[in-house]
Symmetry: C2
Amino acid sequence: MGTLVGMTPRIDPLSLEVVELIGTIVARYHEEYEEAAAQHSLTGAQARVLSLLAGGPTPMRRLAQRLKCEPSNVTGIVDRLESRGLAERRLDPADRRVKLAAATEAGRATSERLRGSLDFAREPLAELSDEERTILRDLLKRMLGIAP
Amino acid sequence: MGTLVGMTPRIDPLSLEVVELIGTIVARYHEEYEEAAAQHSLTGAQARVLSLLAGGPTPMRRLAQRLKCEPSNVTGIVDRLESRGLAERRLDPADRRVKLAAATEAGRATSERLRGSLDFAREPLAELSDEERTILRDLLKRMLGIAP
DNA sequence: TATTGTTATACTCTATAACTATA
DNA sequence: TATAGTTATAGAGTATAACAATA
C-alpha cells in the first residue's frame, strides 16, 4: 500500500489488448473442443487420448507425458475408451513391462469424425486472405519463439 | 472407404499450420495458468473465480454463467475460497434471494499476485515490435469476427 | 535397483435432480 | 409460478503413495 515495491509491472494497452484477444481465442477453442467431444459422448481427456492414438499404438507412459498428467490417470481414461470398444491394450514385444494403447477400427473412425467437427480450423480463418494468414502464421511463430 | 462421401473436407496446409500454432498457444496458455494458480495453492477454477471477484461482488448465478457451468458447482468453489479466507458471501439488499460472492482483502491481494505471475502476457509479445503487435491484434480481431 | 503400469485413496470439478427461500 | 442458491448424488479427472511384473 502506498509503495510500488512488489507491484505488478504495468503492461502497455496494445499488448493487453492482444493478450485479451488470445484469452478469447483460448476460451473459444476449448468450448469447441469440449462440444465436439461431447457430440461423440467423449470427455475432453478421452478425446485427446483418442486423437493421440490415431498416430499409432502408444505406451501408457508416453500418453501421460503428452497429457502432462500422472501415469496413474491414464489407466482410467484408457479403461473407459476400452470399455466402449474405442481402444485396446497391446503388449510391446520389445519390453514386456510396457503396454501399448491403440485405437480400434471404431476408435479411428470416431477420431476421424471428431477431427471433422472441429470447425475452429476452417470458420474463423476463412475471414483472412492467404497473404494475411501467412502474416499471422509468421507472427505467431515469432511469438512462440519458433524459428522464422 | 473408397468413397469421398462423408469425408472431412481437406484444409489447406497454410490454415492447418496456423491452427496448429493456435493449438500450441492454447496449450501453453493453460499450462501457465494452472501453474500460476498452483503457486498460490489454487485450482484453475478457483483462480478464475477469484479473478472474476476482483471485478466486484458478483451473484453466484453470474459466476456460473461466466464459468459456463451449472450454478450448483459454484457453491463448492466459493465454499473453498471462503474457507481459506479469500472470499465471502454477502446479501443483496435489492433481492434477498441472491448472494453476492466477494473477494476479501486477502483475496484481492492473491488475485493481484496471480495476475502478476501470468508471464504469458509479457514474455512472448516482447518479441514483437509495436507495429507487429498492431497487425497481430487486427488479424486476431478479424478472426474472431470483431469489428475492425 | 530402476522402470512400467496398476491399484487404492482423496480431492476437485462437473451435471442432474430435488429442495428452500424468496419474488 | 418462477427464480436464486443450496444440497445430494454420481461420474470423471487429478495427484500421491504403494504395489506387481519386468528390466
